[in-house]
């Protein structure tokens, strides 16, 4: 079902891009006959000449690095925050940690991620010589955690309380119940929402350029600044993002199907 829905969407997006591309190219070239050599020349200027494709490659590497590690930080902190909040809701325990978790989520969700990135770079790490990619990883990881925690919490809340009670009635403690009973079931339910969050995260990293870091977006933008052509580099950047997102969501639905099979 999911798959059938996704493929036409991707094809539609691809077709739209292609349409845009050809219209723009023919509009720019003016003459139909010159289309072939003209576009080849422009592709050459933008991507091949002076190894300009390397800006995109380097940018893509950084974007992937930032997204991947921010995702991991987001998952780790996000699960911890969610478990603290659920432990508080179910047992009334850990009131202080719960307050901290709530404060964290409020502040992170209440301010733009770009401001957070700038604060972390220009304020928190102002006096330290630190790798910009690491700063971005921390900023986006910390940001994503707040959203992940609410996704995870909603997943845990969606599990029938009877599962908790059955675990309790057997004498199991809260951590065992969480790890072996609740989280495996919750994880399956929240996979689509988590996928969503990581797609957003990937695209949010496109503001990394604001701390002078060469990410995918900045790479494309740099090419634009030397070739004075906006269309091709930006479209290329957009296409690369699109491809990663498609792969990411394919991965998520593969995982979804696999987990579903485990229960049939």
């Amino acid at each position: 079902m999911k798959k059938c829905k996704k493929i036409p969407a991707v094809m539609l997006a691809g077709a739209a891009l292609m349409g845009l591309f050809t219209t723009a190219v023919s509009a720019a070239s003016g003459e139909e006959g010159n289309l072939q050599p003209e576009i080849v020349q422009r592709l050459y200027d933008n991507f091949v000449k002076d190894d300009r494709w390397k800006y995109l490659l380097e940018g893509l590497g950084n974007t992937a690095l930032i997204t991947f590690f921010a995702m991991i930080i987001g998952i780790v902190i996000g699960f911890m925050l969610a478990i603290i909040r659920v432990a508080h809701d179910k047992n009334g325990s850990v009131p202080v940690l719960n307050l901290i978790a709530k404060l964290y989520i409020t502040i992170i969700r209440g301010t733009p991620v770009m401001i957070q990135l700038l604060i972390i770079y220009f304020v928190i790490f102002a006096a330290v010589d630190i790798d910009k990619v690491l700063v971005a990883i921390i900023a986006f990881g910390v940001n994503s955690a707040a959203y992940v925690s609410e996704v995870v919490r909603s997943g845990i809340m969606s599990i029938d309380n009877g599962q908790f009670e059955a675990g309790k009635s057997l004498g199991l403690g809260f951590p065992t119940i969480m790890i072996h009973i609740i989280l495996p079931q919750a994880f399956k339910n929240i996979l689509p929402a988590l996928g969503n969050e990581f797609i957003s995260l990937l695209k949010e990293t496109s503001i990394s350029g604001y701390i002078g870091l060469m990410d995918l977006t900045r790479g494309g933008d740099y090419i634009r600044s030397v070739t004075y052509e906006a269309f091709l580099p930006l479209i290329a950047v957009a296409l690369i993002y699109l491809i990663i997102v498609v792969l990411l969501s394919a991965g998520v639905s593969w995982l979804e199907r696999r987990l579903k099979k485990n229960e049939r």
Binding site: D160, G162, Q163, E165, A166, G167, K168, S169, L170, G171, L172, G173, T176, H180, I181, P184, Q185, K188, N262, E263, R264
Partner: protein, 252 residues
């Protein structure tokens, strides 16, 4: 209640003293006192909303009492500092909605608590699970997931899961109320067998036939308190309480 002919001579497993429970202003249990002795099979009956589920769920503190004490094997489990998990290991519970762990096979459901709590090693737990599944007649379902079972089968697995911890007493909270009529029998049969083996049982039930035939003692709860507590014969054939008489008229 020393004149109660239903009460056996065994040692007292659970003693309830002045148990009260209210949700906000709503009083559900109002000063219940009673004892449960080893080997007793107690049926708890009463109209819906009378507090019988809250009562049985208080016995292992799934509901926190708002007043009174509950002694399990001599220890006041409502005291602060009592490790309630240790107590719950000895009190099995079967729920109306089965509450099997949906992410695990039948066998893993049974093995989880004894192996995680260090009561049995994994191979021992597995052996025990297989024995218990045999007892409830579901050996062939060991590697299936709960979603593949019928309601009656789920409840039999749930009983096996509770028994895996070797509890001293089993609490049944309306174990057959969520079942299709044709599956009630298979679950009741397992419970009858357990009773025959001498398991101490407290059963909240609407199955009057079971209450009458299997239990050694029947308790009628209404308006948050025990209104009648006697042998099933007396409770069902010669009830003294007016509300019990009305209740029986409406269900029998």
């Amino acid at each position: 209640m020393s004149d109660n002919p239903a009460i056996a001579n065994g040692e007292v497993l659970i003693r309830v003293e002045n148990l009260c429970k209210s949700f906000g202003d709503h009083v559900v249990l109002n000063d219940i006192s009673m004892e449960i002795r080893k080997g007793e099979v107690i049926s708890v009956i009463g109209p819906s909303g009378c507090g019988k589920s809250t009562f049985i769920r208080s016995l292992n503190l799934l509901e926190e009492p708002t007043g009174g004490s509950i002694f399990f094997e001599g220890e006041d489990i409502t005291e602060r500092g009592v490790d309630i998990r240790k107590v719950r290991e000895k009190i099995g519970m079967v729920f109306q909605q089965f509450n099997l762990f949906d992410n695990m096979t039948v066998k893993k459901n049974i093995m989880l608590a004894p192996s995680k709590l260090g009561v049995l090693t994994r191979p021992e737990a597995e052996k025990k699970a297989i024995e218990l599944l045999e007892m409830v007649g579901l050996s062939d379902k060991a590697d299936q997931y709960p979603a593949q079972l019928s309601g009656g089968q789920k409840q039999r697995v749930a009983i096996a899961r509770s028994l895996a911890m070797n509890p001293d007493v089993m609490l049944f909270d309306e174990p057959t109320s969520a079942l299709d009529p044709e599956m009630v029998g298979e679950v009741l049969n397992i419970m009858k067998e357990l009773a025959k083996k001498g398991m101490t049982m407290v059963v909240v039930t609407h199955e009057m036939g079971f209450a009458r035939e299997v239990s050694t003692r029947a308790i009628f709860i209404d308006e948050g308190n025990i209104q009648e507590d006697n042998t099933p014969e007396v409770v069902f054939t010669n009830p003294k309480n007016e509300r019990l008489r009305e209740f029986l008229k409406s269900v029998l």
